[in-house]
Amino acid sequence: MAKSELMRTSLYAGGTSPIKMIQAGFYNEDCLVYDLEDSVSAGEKDAARFLVYNAVKYQRPENKYILIRVNGIYSEYLDEDLEAAVRAQPDAIRIPKVEYAEEVKRIDKRMTEIERKAGLPVGQIQIWCNIESYQGVLNAREIATASPRVAAMALGAEDFTASMTAQRTKPGWEIFYARNAVLMACREAGISAQDAVFSDINDSEGLQTDLQMTRTLGFDGKTCVHPRQIDTVNACFTPSQKEIRNAQRVLEALEEAAKNHTGVCTLDGGMVDKPMELRARCTLAKAEAAGIKMGGQTK
């Protein structure tokens, strides 16, 4: 299974449109989510399941992290969705509206059963949990560690604000706590933190502003509602040349200090401390994963 280390962007492709599903493979998103849930009407669930299974099994785009979003945990479709999704062997299954750790454990168990029955390696398919209610946010820490399969959590802002009877606004203060709570739970569990979508596809300035918050808080990626958002979101999570150079200088200064057995390392008159080193290494790792050519990098 080809897996990308990058999870900057994930794009949904509706499970009923072969053209959109094919086309989605050519955009620059890191993660491609074939959807069986919201974009598929009740009458088309069977057809979509069949189509998505075949797309993932036989038309899988290279160098992308492939997910299948199944229907809700308590929906009548989930069993059949899991049966098809596990056998298609995506990188992960994306579960909507997760509220309790127990739900994840149940799904993990069911996936294991299907894997065994189908003679597939057990535990290889990961789980992404969509956190879309106040209950999910409150239980985020338990959900993040409910199964070793859980690789990411993603905040669903629209449903979350509805559950809070809050207004959804572009500045996004109504989801500020939820963003932090999900993010901290992800950090604690060592999994990827995915931010909520920015829904207005015609507002590129609004997306930029929203991304400033996303990146400042520390998210690893964001779900895109339209291919037009992908390059902007990727750019937000890709270190700039200036950031890369700064990171390289930090590591060079530390190397120099170690060589000279200097106890305190300084750069441009300021002290280089452990958090600075961590940030520098993280920046360079992201740049490398994004395929950016870096000259004179300290290893």
Binding site: P18, I19, Q23, Y27, G291
Partner: protein, 519 residues
């Protein structure tokens, strides 16, 4: 049967037409014989009146008879109301078996060209392309004689070589005076450049200017001079301005097309030829308009200005001129109202003769000085051969336009297209109709990557330049496999042995034929 250098099997003779097989993009020598023309000297004296009371009077005065050749330009595009009016008058006069030789057949309705084919007014067609109802009728075998399809550059060559001699040229003009000075740049039905009409005006036996906007003598500006014009007719209308100006696509929001356009400009910007004074043409399709926008962005970023932009011109190019990004805009055609008016209002936006744009057999040719040409296509095959005429069921979808000319002239010719359209692959093993030889295509840009043509004259240079970038290079065979893996292999289109269309290359040799599709 004979086989041309691209492997296409051709009959040696199609009716009276002797097939000269295509043998390479630059193998046919220049004509040494004098240029052939039907233009007569004429003799006008003070007091002569050229203005005719009606189209009927003008047609009678022209001496048009059965079996002769008539021509039109296609600058009014789908908004053309000249062709229908003229053919209706000709039918009323009982003139039959004409050779219809417009610069391109526009898809007019009420009346449709097919009506005049069916009633025998027209029995031969020579144009850039046929589509819609007429295309269907031709492929269904409704015309006995095959249609000859020529590129924009090949048409003036054929006229000057005597292969297409025009008896009467009907030239629609959005403004004209009563002595024949005329233009497309002003008036309610302005179409801008009348680039396709020059060769007709210069070489037809009789030239009739048709306008709905008779202006005071002398008409200014003037595109076609009075010295070439025999008669002038004023009619109620020559076109529908809404459709005349609808030639260029708006900036697309389709993310796939935007991605291809961006990659195209990445390729251009990576080339060593992208430097101060470079030249280009991008065209008017959805990907082309987006490419123009991205190109302007990249020129601003890099501080590079172009010496000239060429060909069919949309508003996006005029914006670049206004911004100082392009020094001269050479318009063989204007695709929208902004571009149409720009020639009159901007000193560096020029109307050019289509022959000077694209004819490989003249002493000029702007294309010979062009760096980058961006082209659309319906299909490309693994030899980089391009089909711009026929669709997935063999139906006529477009015209040759200037595509093969641009590919033959530009230093870097770039074909842009998606890997698949709907359920049909665009990159195939063998194109159904070969219009542009693969050896003249430098690169194919798709959403799945860029394929460079190892057989193109500038391959080494382009490869070296692109290897300095992170642009995704892919072979044309990989693109073809990818397309086929998504769509499967389409069932081959079955044809009869009868040739419905002859596709001529720039030099008049036959690059392919289109046979009737089996029902």
């Amino acid at each position: 049967m004979i086989v041309n250098s691209l492997g296409r099997e051709l009959p040696e003779k199609i009716g009276d037409y002797i097939v000269r097989p295509y043998m390479g993009p630059a193998t046919t020598p220049a004509l040494t014989a004098p240029v052939v023309t039907r233009r007569t000297a004429g003799h006008r004296v003070p007091g002569d009146i050229k203005l005719k009371a009606s189209l009927k009077d003008a047609v009678i005065a022209s001496g048009l008879k059965d079996g002769m050749t008539i021509s039109f330009h296609h600058c009014f595009r789908e908004g053309d109301r000249v062709i229908g009016q003229v053919l209706t008058v000709i039918r009323e006069l009982g003139i039959k078996s004409l050779r219809f030789a417009p610069s391109a057949v526009v898809n007019i309705k009420n009346p449709s060209i097919v009506d005049f084919v069916r009633d025998g007014t027209i029995d031969r067609i020579e144009a850039s392309g046929i589509r819609g109802q007429l295309g269907d009728a031709v492929l269904d075998g409704e015309m006995e004689k095959p249609v000859i399809l020529r590129t924009h550059g090949a048409r003036p060559r054929a006229i000057e070589a005597g292969e297409l001699q025009i008896d009467v040229a009907f030239i629609g003009a959005s403004a004209a005076d009563d002595y024949g000075n005329c233009t497309g740049q002003i008036g309610p039905n302005a179409c801008g450049s009348m680039g396709y009409s020059f060769v007709d005006a210069h070489n037809a036996g009789c030239v009739i200017v048709i306008t709905d906007n008779l202006v005071e003598y002398p008409c200014i500006p003037v595109s076609i001079s009075q010295q070439y014009v025999d008669f002038v007719v004023k009619v109620d209308t020559i076109g529908d301005p809404a459709k005349i100006g609808a030639g260029a696509a708006r900036l697309t929001k389709n993310p796939r097309d935007l991605m291809i356009a961006e990659r195209t400009v990445d390729l251009i910007a990576a080339s060593r030829r992208f430097k101060e004074g470079f030249s280009f043409q991008t065209g008017a399709g959805a990907i082309s308009i987006a490419s123009t926008k991205y190109l302007a962005d990249r020129m601003r970023e890099r501080g590079v200005k172009a010496s000239f932009a060429l060909g069919g011109v949309p508003a996006a190019i005029i914006d670049m001129y206004d911004e100082g990004l392009v020094r001269v805009v050479e318009c063989s055609q204007s695709f929208d109202a902004v571009a149409a008016q720009a020639i009159f209002s901007r000193p560096g936006v020029l109307e050019i003769d289509n022959a000077d744009y694209a004819n490989a057999y003249s002493k000029g040719g702007f294309l010979n000085r062009e760096d980058f040409g961006v082209l659309g296509a319906l299909e490309v095959d693994t030899d980089f051969n391009v089909n711009i005429l026929t669709g997935s069921s063999g139906e006529m979808m477009g015209g040759l336009g200037g595509g093969p000319d641009v590919a033959g002239g530009a230093q870097i010719s770039i074909v842009t297209l998606p890997v698949v359209r709907g359920r049909t692959p665009s990159i195939v093993k063998k194109v159904f109709t070969l219009c542009t030889p693969g050896e003249t295509i430098a690169a194919v840009v798709t959403e799945a990557g860029i394929a460079l043509n190892p057989k193109h004259k500038n391959y080494q240079e382009l490869r070296e330049d692109l290897e300095q970038t992170s642009l995704k290079l892919i072979t044309i065979q990989e693109l073809q496999h990818l397309a086929e893996s998504m769509t499967g292999v389409p069932k081959p289109i079955e044809t009869t042995g009868k040739v419905a269309c002859i596709v001529e290359y720039r030099d008049g040799t036959v690059i392919d034929v289109i046979r009737e599709v089996k029902k």
